[in-house]
């Protein structure tokens, strides 16, 4: 189904790897997501996406400037984002974090989004619209 990209005139992935950025507002639209924290920060840009439920993997392979997609909703997700310079978190599969986690994110000005889509589809939709992955990113 690559005709979609060609038809809308979007840049092809192969030639533009490493430069495409996406605002959180665009992410919100593409995923039909709700904003849980940081509604005033939706103009922030993410350079790549990182999907993981294992926080150690985020710490190991995540890069600064990423959007983290995860099904995990505890406070350690926010801590991990803080340590790894993650720009924003989107919780997938309709899972919502508790109040404590939201509070922690707010105090750090870390935007939180929430989508009902499962992990694979969330990542797929963003990738299809041009958001690259961590391994493709070059500074």
């Amino acid at each position: 189904m690559t005709t979609d990209r060609v038809a809308t005139g979007e840049t092809s992935v192969s030639s533009e790897v490493g430069v495409a950025k996406m605002t959180l507002e665009e992410v919100r639209e593409i995923l039909g997501a709700e904003v849980i924290a940081g509604a005033h920060l939706l103009s922030l840009e993410v350079s790549m996406g990182c999907g993981a439920d294992l926080m150690s993997d985020v710490l190991a392979y995540g890069k600064p400037g990423s959007l983290l997609l995860t099904g995990l909703t505890n406070q350690q997700v926010v801590r991990t984002a803080e340590m790894a310079d993650i720009v924003a978190i989107c919780f997938v599969r309709g899972k919502r974090p508790d109040e404590q986690t939201i509070k922690m994110a707010k105090s750090q000005e870390l935007p939180l989004l929430w989508t009902k889509l499962p992990m694979f589809e969330s990542c797929g939709r963003l990738y299809r619209r041009g958001l690259i992955g961590v391994s493709e990113y070059t500074e």
Binding site: H40, D53, L54, M55, S56, D57, L59, A60, P64, L72, N74, Q75, Q76, V77, R79, T80, E82, M83, A84, D85, Q100, K106, E109
Partner: protein, 303 residues
Amino acid sequence: MPFTKVQELVYEMKVSQVMTRSIITVGPQMPMSELREIFRDKRISGTPVVDGGRLVGIISLEDFIKWLYDREGDSLIGDKMTRNVETLYDDEPLVHAVSKFDTSGFGRFAVVERLSGKLVGVITKGDIIEGLLKKLEVEYHEEEIHRYRASHIFEDIVADRTTLVFEYDVVGREFDRAGESSSRLKRTLTRLGLEPGMTRRVAIATYEAEMNLIVFTEGGKISVRLEPGRVAVDVTDSGPGIPDIERALQPGYSTAPQWVRELGFGAGMGLVNMQKCADEMEIISAPGKGTHIKIVILTGRNR
């Protein structure tokens, strides 16, 4: 400027911090015709009316214009002023003033001291905005100064060698608090102006170390020595120790309980991640003797 900061200030700041203190008052017996000069000379658009030290009303430019419009000869201020004056106390938070402006539609309120009932000032919407902007500016400057001072600390200290030491005590088994020490450390290093890549590596290494302390021990200590160009981290505990260090360093090897895995950790990547962030790492451990992990992280140009 984050919206939330302004909201916070509106609750924090008091009416007395933004109100105009040098107020001009008029008496109820003064003729309306004299207001013109007062308003023009003092560049104000309204003023409290005081009789024998007591606040009896407020007369505004609007009242004055209305009087001019249906002018039937001069009148006394006392006859044209707004009588049921709503006042604010000087120690009320600004948010009260904001909501009062919102609901009443008035342009200004007299401010009285709570105990004495004495008139001490006047507050307008403009005063509130100006007060908030000033406060934001001052806080911004203070933060800038803090940042500047912190980031130049090594230049300011005169010595042959300078070392800053930060120590953090980590309490074991308190999973909810995991990351608190690393978070505090990261904020400190950021403020000290360390290069972001280096700060990130230190933060990730100490976070994984902190997690290990919490999962496997009754607690321990993270000690961070900061010198120009390098950061040395020492993590010590008197926990169970590591029986086979070589195996523990293999990616995916884990002895963590299931509940830790459910929380997104314990997949055998902790020590591996620490090693990945470190330029040098040494593990000293034996069963029953606790663990001491030494990590050195260098600035980008020293790597």
